[in-house]
């Protein structure tokens, strides 16, 4: 049962296609688990459709349709390959770097993404804390397996954490299994060792 969801603002940016790629990947991971947010997304996408319908049209060049009709029998490009079959669908085609130790019991694996956010997988052992950034920009975390807890409650598989500005308590892994999450942030710097690793690895 999913208990923690992204804000409407985040889903609106996702629906509009303006959420930076790394953040969109985390949101997509949550959406693949969450029927409630898929419903909100479909309302937002219908909003996009309604806005499109009401836009004053801008004509294309006069031969645009004819040129297109000449190309219509070309085959569609193949989909990109699945690189990580062990990960859920929104993450399985993403290029991932190697695992980096970023503190006792915490490892980080950056994912390739473009745009104004960066992200990756974090694997933290029971009792350890997940890294959390400073107070600049949006940050999203989606749990892939096991659980962590912070001042907002307990986050299990599929739950998404979108902390506000007043978050200081780092999330701690609960239970006896390590917790795997996908995280993304617009913040420039992570705190502590993960921040250090991020500066060494680059984005």
């Amino acid at each position: 049962m999913i208990a923690h969801h992204p804000s409407e603002a985040t889903l609106a940016a996702y629906a509009a296609g303006t959420l930076p790629e790394a953040l969109a990947l985390v949101a997509a991971t949550h959406l693949s688990h969450c029927a409630t947010c898929r419903k909100t997304l479909s309302t937002l996408e219908a909003t996009g459709g309604a806005l499109l319908e009401d836009l004053p049209p801008v004509p294309l060049s006069i031969d645009a349709l004819d040129r297109l009709l000449g190309r219509m029998d070309q085959p569609a490009p193949p989909p990109p390959p699945i690189l990580n079959p062990e990960l859920p669908a929104p993450l399985n085609r993403v290029a991932l770097g190697r695992w980096w130790p970023v503190g006792p019991g915490v490892r980080y694996r950056p994912m390739q993404s473009s745009g104004a956010a960066w992200g990756g997988l974090v694997l933290a052992q029971p009792g350890r804390s997940l890294p959390r950034h400073g107070h600049a920009g949006r940050e999203l975390t989606c749990v892939l397996s096991c659980a962590f807890a912070d001042q907002d409650g307990t986050f299990a598989a599929g739950d998404l954490s979108e902390p506000g500005d007043n978050h200081d308590q780092p999330p701690a892994v609960i239970g006896v299994q390590p917790c795997l999450c996908v995280i993304a942030s617009e913040g420039m710097r992570l705190r502590g060792l993960l921040g250090f690793a991020q500066r060494i690895i680059g984005r």
């Binding site: 804000s7 409407e8 603002a9 609106a12 940016a13 629906a15 509009a16 296609g17 303006t18 930076p20 790629e21 969109a24 990947l25 997509a28 959406l31 693949s32 898929r38 419903k39 909100t40 479909s42 309302t43 937002l44 996408e45 219908a46 909003t47 996009g48 459709g49 309604a50 806005l51 499109l52 319908e53 009401d54 836009l55 004053p56 049209p57 801008v58 004509p59 294309l60 060049s61 645009a64 349709l65 040129r67 297109l68 009709l69 190309r71 219509m72 569609a76 989909p79 990109p80 669908a89 929104p90 085609r93 290029a95 390739q112 473009s114 745009g115 104004a116 920009g137 949006r138 617009e186």
Partner: protein, 189 residues
């Protein structure tokens, strides 16, 4: 129910897409192109895409409509909504180039597929009509954040700066707007 799937007076675009899927109907395609390509181009231009690329992306969007027509499910989305999502994904792709990030969008084929019922198909075309009317009735400050989110390639920090209101206010206006849109959909959502 005696409602048809037609939007107010216009052609039934969902039926045109299905006609492409079933018969590779080039006339249906030309009609869709005439209606949607100039709107997709307008949307691209509003998002800051240059005119040459906007024209190209409008054509690519329509090419995808042709190729993917058999994936269109009128019980899942109205025609404008479906074409909007294609245009959006192509714009994301164009901005990222090296990969195909439209794959970020959850693949509908992986979700449990409810059976397509006739009343559901009607519901989806009604959904677009109701959303259009609800959008026109939104208070200006809520309409503004929705428009900025969909038409301008802006992150929230920029919207915040431009409107001179805190991020929390942007978020709460969006939440209020969504509440109204959901209420307008009622049982259709």
């Amino acid at each position: 129910m005696t409602q048809t799937t037609q939007s107010a007076g216009g052609p039934d675009y969902a039926a045109l897409i299905q006609s492409i899927a079933q018969r590779r109907d080039r006339e249906a395609f030309a009609a869709l192109f005439g209606h949607f390509a100039p709107r997709v181009k307008a949307w691209m231009l509003r998002g800051g895409v240059n005119p040459t690329a906007a024209e190209e992306l409008a054509q690519e969007t329509m090419l995808s409509v042709w190729r993917k027509a058999d994936l269109f499910d009128p019980a899942r989305a109205g025609a404008s909504t479906w074409i909007f999502t294609i245009a959006r994904n192509l714009r994301i792709d164009a901005m990222r180039r090296e990969r195909h990030p439209s794959d970020l969008m959850p693949d509908p084929s992986e979700e449990p597929d409810p059976p397509a019922q006739a009343d559901r198909v009607i519901a989806m075309s009604q959904q677009e009509i109701r959303i259009r009317s609800a959008l026109s009735l939104l208070p200006p400050e809520q309409a503004e954040v929705i428009h900025k989110a969909f038409f301008e390639d802006k992150v929230h920090a920029e919207i915040e700066k431009e409107l001179g209101i805190p991020l929390g206010t942007v978020k709460s206006r969006l939440r209020l707007a969504m509440t109204r849109l959901r209420a307008a959909l009622g049982d259709l959502a």
